[in-house]
């Protein structure tokens, strides 16, 4: 397709104004001359001698055999042009001087031609403090309408579940797109493939790191052919939790490894979240302190950051329930912080649960109960950790029967038993006066060193009605302490 002179002169002007050409008079003159004759029918304009005389100030006695100036200068120009178009990807045209000739070639950029009338779209830059994952789908065998439907349900299900996690950035590959991940700064690639085998659907998934392609997680699950939407929810809740859950997800461990000496922009935020994750993997006083200070210093520069604010809210809750000495008045400070954080993330289930938990610690039971009544909380597609702490809340709000049953079921389901599980089991059976179970759980608590957590729970939970009638919190406190053999302080 020919380029009209007006467009061409505009392109030249743009080129000449660039920093590469701006101060290079000779190059400008040379390029201007070559372009001017680019469409001429004869080759006479491109004779070395003519070029030397017209552009390079040589006289009529110029001999190209002795003087290589034209070849050298054209070589310089060629390099300059290539560099210009390497840097300026968005130009509509491209001027090149192919090796072995001096006649420039003008071409219209093919990529732009394809989307001629659609403005370009480039991906937004990835935030280093988030975990980026690219989701790709493949179908094995023949694609049927049922598989198509299932794929959609799974895609939307994963999208919604991960949408509740501010810290995860999800990209969904364009159908048919494969392998092109470098440009989008992805951490992990998750490949999900669906197949119909006999009377079942098989959903296999594998995850690899975007850089190395080494698969470190693979998983296969079956779904009956006449599945219910709830079955998908259960399936996805498992899959997503095992990968992305802050407490049990495998990806966060990898993420921490990959970010542990991150120094670039956003380093403070990354450092805060790395410390926070490290604490979640190993809950102890030293780790929570490090997490707390890292988060505090990140918030100084990024006060409105939703991910960091949520992490801080969580740290307050855990400092209280495990009685870690991190900061004075953690309940009060935590509540103030959570209410401020909720202002800008009003739909965060996690923050609402944490709000209810801290309100309960403060003995503002109405808030806690109102939160327990919410239909939106604890919806099917939630991950492991949010559900777990929701059940903790239910228990501590003295609905032990319903709460502990669900908590236990959840932990069995995921085969994950956070320390709090044993703590609540012990209190539950203690209140039930089930001697054998109490003894069993007492041992677990002593092994894992959670006596302080039991004491905190007794101090802060809503007292069951039966207890508030027959005795006081102090009586319960004494009984528990004597059972645990803990010193009264």
């Amino acid at each position: 397709m020919p380029i009209n002179d007006y467009e061409l002169s505009k392109e030249l002007e743009y080129l000449f104004a660039s920093y590469l050409f701006q101060n290079k008079l000779q190059m400008k003159r040379l390029l201007g001359y070559l372009i001017q004759h680019a469409n001429s029918t004869s080759d006479s304009a491109f004779d070395q001698k003519v070029i030397a005389m017209k552009c390079l100030g040589r006289g009529a006695d110029f001999d190209p055999a002795e003087n290589p100036v034209v070849r050298i200068e054209i070589g310089r120009l060629r390099k300059l042009l290539n560099r210009f178009y390497d840097e300026e990807l968005t130009r509509p045209y491209k001027i090149t001087i192919p090796l072995g000739q001096y006649r420039p070639v003008l071409s219209i950029e093919a990529t732009l031609n394809k989307h001629k009338y659609l403005p370009e779209l480039s991906p937004s830059p990835a935030n280093p403090e988030r975990l980026s994952v690219l989701l790709q789908f493949t179908t094995e065998g023949v694609d049927s309408p049922e598989l198509y439907l299932l794929r959609h349900r799974i895609r939307i299900g994963i999208t919604i579940t991960l949408g509740k996690q501010e810290a995860v950035r999800l990209l969904v590959a364009i159908p048919g797109e494969n392998g092109k991940v470098a440009a989008d700064s992805i951490d992990f690639v998750m490949r999900v493939s669906l197949a119909a085998v006999d009377a079942e659907f098989t959903l296999s998934s594998e995850v690899c790191s975007a850089q190395s392609n080494e698969v470190f997680f693979s998983d296969e699950r079956n779904l009956e052919i006449d599945y219910q939407p709830a079955d998908i929810e259960v399936l996805l809740s498992h899959l997503v939790s095992e990968l992305f859950d802050h407490e049990i997800g495998v990806l966060w461990r990898r993420w921490v490894d990959s970010r542990s000496d991150y120094k670039n922009v956003g380093a403070l935020k990354v450092a805060a979240l790395v410390q926070y994750q490290r604490y979640l993997f190993d809950e102890n006083e030293e780790n929570i302190r490090q997490a707390f200070y890292a988060i505090e210093s990140a918030l100084e520069f990024h006060p409105g950051d939703k991910i960091i604010n949520l992490a801080l809210a969580d740290v307050y809750y855990r400092a209280v329930i495990h009685n870690f000495d991190v900061v004075a008045d953690p309940i009060e400070k935590g509540l103030t912080h959570i209410r401020e954080a909720l202002r800008f993330s009003p739909a965060s289930d996690n923050l609402h649960t944490l709000h209810a938990l801290l309100a309960m610690f403060q003995q503002e039971y109405d808030y806690a109960i109102a939160s327990l009544l919410m239909d939106e909380m604890n919806a099917g597609e939630a991950c492991f950790a949010p559900k777990f702490h929701y059940h903790v809340l239910t228990c501590l709000m003295s609905d032990w029967k319903g709460g502990f049953y669900k908590l236990d079921e959840l932990c069995n389901d995921f085969a994950s038993y956070p320390k709090l599980h044993a703590v609540l089991a012990y209190i539950y059976y203690f209140l039930l006066e089930d001697k054998t179970q109490t003894l069993k759980w007492k041992q677990t608590i002593q092994i894992q060193g959670s006596v302080a957590t039991v004491q905190q729970c007794i101090k802060l939970m809503k007292l069951p009605d039966s207890w508030s009638v027959k005795a006081s919190r102090d009586d319960l406190w004494l009984l528990i302490n004597s059972d645990l053999g803990a010193m009264d302080d």
Binding site: S18, Y19, Q22, E87, T90, K114, H115, K116, Y117, L118, P119, E120, L121, S122, P123, S124, P125, L135, P145, Y148, L149, H152, R155, I156, T159, I160, G163, L170, L171, V172, A173, I174, P175, E177, N264, V265, G266, A267, L268, F301, R339, L342, R343, F344, P346, A347, H352, H355, D366, Y367, I369, A370, S371, L373, M374, D375, E376
Partner: protein, 514 residues
């Protein structure tokens, strides 16, 4: 310590094409950033700059030597140029130097990159001497509304959770609002002596203090989740959902009245698009396309602007504008690219559904439209589009049901909500209903005349139909030939197409004589 984002921004600018080969500019910028950040006013005097940064000696006299002013002006221009270039989206901060001083300013560049809508503050309150039931309901509503409104990304939701602001107080709508809140919504829960609840809602525009909405609704003492849900929908549908709701159109209109020059850059795309949805016309579409091209050139990662651009395809299709020249396949592919980076955005799913529809691939279309309803079940506009497209796919009854169920939430929906319903009644030969619904269609250049014309055609009143069509033709804005009507609106009505052709033919025969 200099904030890491500042140092990072600085290094990105210094490495950019514009600055890379200009050592003097680089030195000056670094110098000014350093001393501005350290708040070192002495170092920012002309003399200090000339001596410490531009290589002048102690004899420098700013009255005789304009070097600092000249170099600062160059830097100012260069920075502006830099932030207009594609490279600028790597910079987390915007660095500028206001005229009249040598202090540099840092502002967040990132905020300008993604199109944004208005900001809404939600306040939920109960009386001073509240009881537990009121408090519980208030907290539930606050949480329920927060959760639902958060699904709408054309509004920036802020919710007040401070216990001391939960007590109903006269004027709290005014004194709790801050400068950044465009609108304030206040809900108050009161229980009466019988135990029933009264929930009143009021919405004001903070700047003018104009009351845009004031309603109250009764909930029985034993309210149910469904009852609450209906209450939420009756708020959300008219206020923020249907055609971006009362709030959206108020916001877009009031900013347009101020003049586009005064509207902040990142709001412009949303302002123009919302306005277009409420008053579509070919001219407006053209203007929006022009604007979006410019914006996307500057911020190619603004996927919201990109989806607005693709959404103009709706008007192209149903109003026959044909303004976007890329093929439907290319546009569909682009929608998928947007969806890749914004998988949560229901509006992108709607767009994919629409382009599948336009390509005649109805199964895929339906699937993606349903996806959108799963991603945001609270936006009744998506329900309308789903119903409307179902209708034009030939699933008339299903589409009609979906759309009619929306009227329970919003009694006065936008005019175009009646178009599929109008055709439904035509198809059912329920003329009186068709005429009454047709009269509610007020939308787009002369579309209401077209609807009237079609209604007349359907009952065989060709003379009248002809008059209405002439009205459209006289409307200078809509100068296309009206053949697109056959392929879009009349796609399910072959009998009407025949009649329509007869009238159009007769009109074109008459034309030379006029």
């Amino acid at each position: 310590m200099i904030d890491e984002t500042v140092t990072h921004t600085e290094s990105i600018i210094l490495e950019s094409c514009l600055f890379r080969s200009k050592p003097q500019m680089k030195r000056l910028l670094s110098y000014l950033i350093k001393h501005t950040y350290e708040n070192n006013n002495d170092a920012l005097q002309q003399r200090s700059i000339a001596v410490n940064c531009l290589g002048r000696n102690h004899l420098f006299d700013s009255a005789k030597d304009p070097i600092v002013r000249i170099e600062a002006a160059r830097l100012r221009k260069l920075l502006e140029e830099y932030y207009d270039s594609v490279e600028a989206h790597q910079a987390p901060l915007r660095v500028s130097m206001p005229k009249g001083s040598y202090h540099v300013l840092f502002s967040r560049n990132i905020e300008h990159r993604l199109s944004r809508g208005y900001s809404l503050l939600l306040l939920c309150q109960s009386p001073v001497a509240t009881n537990v039931d009121e408090l519980w309901l208030m907290i539930r509503i606050r949480q329920g509304l927060s959760y639902r409104l958060n699904h709408f990304d054309h509004l920036d939701l802020v919710v007040n959770f401070h216990p001391e602001h939960e007590i109903a107080q006269r004027g709290s709508v005014y004194f709790l609002a801050e400068e950044q809140h465009d609108y304030v919504m206040r809900l108050e829960v009161v229980q009466d002596r019988e135990g029933d609840f009264l929930v009143s809602s009021i919405v004001i525009h903070r700047l003018t203090q104009e009351i845009l909405w004031s309603h109250s609704i009764a909930l029985p003492e034993k309210y149910t989740a469904e009852g609450l849900n209906e209450f939420y929908m009756k708020l959300i549908s008219p206020l923020v959902a249907d055609s971006y709701g009362i709030l959206g159109s108020h916001w877009a209109k009031s900013l347009l009245e101020q003049g586009l020059g005064y509207v902040e850059d990142q709001h412009l795309a949303a302002v123009q698009f919302i306005n277009l949805c409420n008053n579509p016309s070919k001219l407006a579409c053209e203007a929006v396309i022009e604007f979006l091209k410019g914006r996307l050139n500057k911020y190619p990662d603004d996927f919201k602007a990109q989806s607005s651009y693709l959404a103009i395809g709706f008007f192209d299709h149903f109003l026959g504008y044909n303004l976007i020249e890329a093929s439907l396949e290319d546009r569909l592919e682009r929608c998928f690219l947007v969806a890749k980076h914004a998988p949560h955005d229901a509006s992108v799913s709607i767009l994919i559904g629409f382009y599948y529809f336009a390509l005649g691939r109805y199964d895929e279309s339906q699937m993606h439209l349903k996806n959108a309803l799963t991603l945001n079940p609270y936006n009744t506009m998506w329900h309308f589009i789903y119903g409307g497209l179902l209708f034009f796919m030939g699933k008339k009854e299903e589409g009609f049901q979906v759309i009619s169920s929306l009227y329970q939430y919003n009694k006065t929906p936008p005019g175009y909500y009646f178009i599929p319903v109008f055709f439904y009644y035509i198809g059912e030969e329920q003329w009186d209903k068709a005429f009454s619904v047709g009269s509610k269609v007020a939308f787009a250049d002369g579309l209401e005349c077209l609807v009237d014309a079609l209604a007349h055609l359907a009952i065989g009143a060709q003379e009248q139909a002809q008059k209405e069509i002439l009205k459209i033709e006289n409307n200078k804005v809509l100068q296309n030939n009206l053949h697109w009507v056959e392929n879009t609106l009349l796609v399910n009505h072959p009998d009407l197409v025949d009649q329509y052709r007869i009238v159009m033919n007769r009109l074109s025969l008459n034309k030379p004589r006029r």
